[in-house]
Amino acid sequence: MRRSPARTAVTVTLAAALTAVTAACGGGSSTDGEGSNDKPKELTYWASNQGTSIADDKQKLTPELKRFEKKTGIKVKLEVIPWDSLLDRILAATSSGQGPDVLNIGNTWSSSLQATGALLPWDDEHMAKIGGAKRFTPSALAATGARDKDPAAVPIYSLAYGLYYNKKMFKDAGIDEPPATWDELVKDGKKLTGGGKYGIAVEGGDPVENSHHAFILGKQHGADFFDASGKPDFDSPGAVKAVKQYVDLLAGNKIAAPGNAEYAKRETIRDFATGKAAMLLWQAAATSIKSNGMKQSEYGVAPLPVQAPGSGEKGTRSMVAGINMAVFKNTDNIDGAMEFVKFMTSDEEQRTLNAAYGSIPPVKAAQNDEAFDTADLKVLREVLTTSSAPLPQVPDESKFETLVGTATKELFADAAAGRKVTTDSVQKELSAAQQQMRK
């Protein structure tokens, strides 16, 4: 092969030059300071998919944005992004410095995104602009970033897990009250299982859901998945017990259908709504259950059971779920962005939007509204205020969700395939997951 060294050199140089140019430009503009005010009359807002569809979200948000425009003269360009792509888009925006001005983030992402340095920290000065941190429920605020740092975002929608139960199926099985402890839940579940119906439905194929339940149960067993210094601790005895207890709903106790191991597309809600399963552990499922055809009168809501009637951390009944609103440091309309956050966290907007989405306002003052006094929201509000804990606010939190959630999914798959799930097998999976945390 007659290769010309000169030609090779030219090509390589070209590539190297381009690489150098890109490298020199770095990861986009890195303003470590505050954003600028280059474009004071417009804002770009990335909203997450909270409603039943993208169109639905647009329908709910557009009137509010118009209201904002009327008030301040700032035009808001809305983009509703499906959950599948949201994190990737945020990632791309973070690394390039080109993104929205304001965006919704899942509150569990707060620490990871905080670690990128792309989000504007809400120090006292900024907080003052929206009325101060005291306006928000402490639990919601706890899920906005590392404990020793300023919040990376402010909460706008709060959600919590609850136990949804089918009233008729309970009555038919002779159960008067929803279970208050896990033992009761298993017992009730066994009574309810039979004839093609099952006691409970779990979304075993969804790593995120799995990680949430692992966390809640872990707290109940006194285990945190990260130790005090932020190092992963996935296979502590408490964690193992927690995961095993959750998987045993399908494995040992068989009160969840084997098919649940595959569920990742909200089939659990469908099963509950169609009466195939009597119980459901979910976040603010009212709108979803309704859209699946079940009437609100047909089900009741209770807090998640605990291990034994206890209090303090061991009485954790939910993780603090919800959506936060963040401002990109690279925004070109910092004042406008602040105005917008102030608007969205105002009492009135909080009432409107949370009522529309079936979530709970993290702004205390907005909570007393009859929209939030429905049976399920009352329970969830109580849970949020008294017995919820934020997921570990460490930068590696998303790795935790992926690894522990996937480990749990594998255990469900084992159980559904007929293999035994023992404390040892659970420990092995969790240890393997933890070891993958080492960089």
Binding site: G27, L91, S95, T402
Partner: protein, 334 residues
């Protein structure tokens, strides 16, 4: 193939770029003057392709390779040029098969190899069978051909979403048929999780790819002169012998290219496992593309993901070079 002098190429010495390397070839024919313009023409024709390739393929590749030598996690994603250099650190972790990360990567790699070999073999087998069977014209051949090609023509997300609908354990057609209607199994198997997910992956991949093999082979079969078959039949050779002695050897050059292309495309395939299984694939179907995606995008560890991609690239380069050398084929011999 280029032994004939191409029209109007001038001496390399007059061309753009540094002069004088390699012996000057005598021109057998000089067609038109203006040699300089002639000389620049091939480069000019290539320029758009070259620029695009460098900009979109090569430069990002180079950047990706650079990333693999850095510890690029979420802290540095904003200013990744400031991420610390850790030299071969990412690579060491990736190849250390005694540690979990390396072990998982090796497992994923082996699964991908097995998957690729199986899927490509089956696709080729079905393709060549169908191509041979459809050689002779018969009633409905055109319609059948259209039917066979449709799975390949469907956009990948359409095809795979349909399969993910079919393979659901509770609500899918596959289980409905084999469990409810045919009674082949006692309990409904899982296809999207657990060990069967490997089979599901192979089936979906073959469903999509075999029409491509069919198309290529069908085209190639048309080039085999009928006289060969007729002569063989007159000599008393049966169908099977004809296939073995005439068809397959004639297809060898096509097969070599086809198999290589299918191998590369299948090995690197991201769309099928991603749409079928989502962001976390079951262990039995943990293809390397998804594995790398999970190691970079889902866990925010881009240095590690890039290192794994580089290793993957090196592997494919080695395989391809080895394959091309072994088959002795080559556009390189042009």
């Amino acid at each position: 193939m280029t032994t004939l002098s191409p029209p109007g190429t001038s001496r390399p010495a007059d061309a753009k770029g540094p002069a004088g390397d390699g012996p000057e070839r005598p021109r057998r024919r000089r067609i038109l003057p203006d040699r300089l313009r002639r000389a620049g023409l091939p480069y000019l024709l290539l320029l758009p392709a070259l620029i695009l390739e460098v900009l979109i393929h090569l430069a990002p590749m180079a950047v990706g390779v650079v990333m693999s030598f850095k510890e690029l996690t979420q802290q540095y994603i904003r200013n990744w040029d400031q991420a610390p250099w850790i030299g071969a650190g990412n690579f060491r972790i990736a190849v250390d098969v005694n540690a979990p990360v390396g072990e998982a990567l090796l497992h994923s790699f082996l699964i991908t190899c097995a998957f690729t070999v199986l899927a490509v073999s089956l696709a080729w087998l079905l393709g060549v069978t169908a191509a041979i069977l459809m050689q002779e014209s018969f009633r409905g051949r055109g319609l059948l051909r259209a039917l066979f090609l449709t799975p390949y023509a469907l956009p990948v997300y359409t095809a795979v979403i349909t399969w993910s609908f079919l393979l659901q354990r509770d609500g899918g057609m596959v289980n409905h048929v084999i469990h409810d209607q045919l009674g082949l199994t006692d309990s409904e198997p899982f296809w999207l999780i657990g060990d069967n997910s490997f089979i599901a992956l192979v089936v979906v991949s073959v469903w999509r790819t075999w029409p491509f093999a069919f198309l290529i082979l069908m085209a190639a079969l048309q080039n085999i002169p009928r006289e060969l078959y007729e002569a063989a039949q007159v000599d008393g050779a049966g169908i099977r012998q004809q296939i073995r002695r005439i068809t397959l050897p004639s297809l060898r050059p096509v097969n070599q290219v086809l198999v290589l292309v299918l191998f590369l495309w299948t090995f690197n395939d991201f769309n099928v496992p991603y749409i079928l299984f989502g962001k976390s694939a079951p262990e039995a179907a943990d293809l390397i593309s998804i594995h790398i995606y999970q190691s970079s995008f889902v866990t925010w560890d881009f240095g590690s993901g890039s290192a794994m991609s580089v290793l993957l690239l090196v592997f494919l380069l080695v395989v391809t070079c080895g394959y091309l050398l072994a088959t002795g084929r080559g556009r390189k011999s042009r």
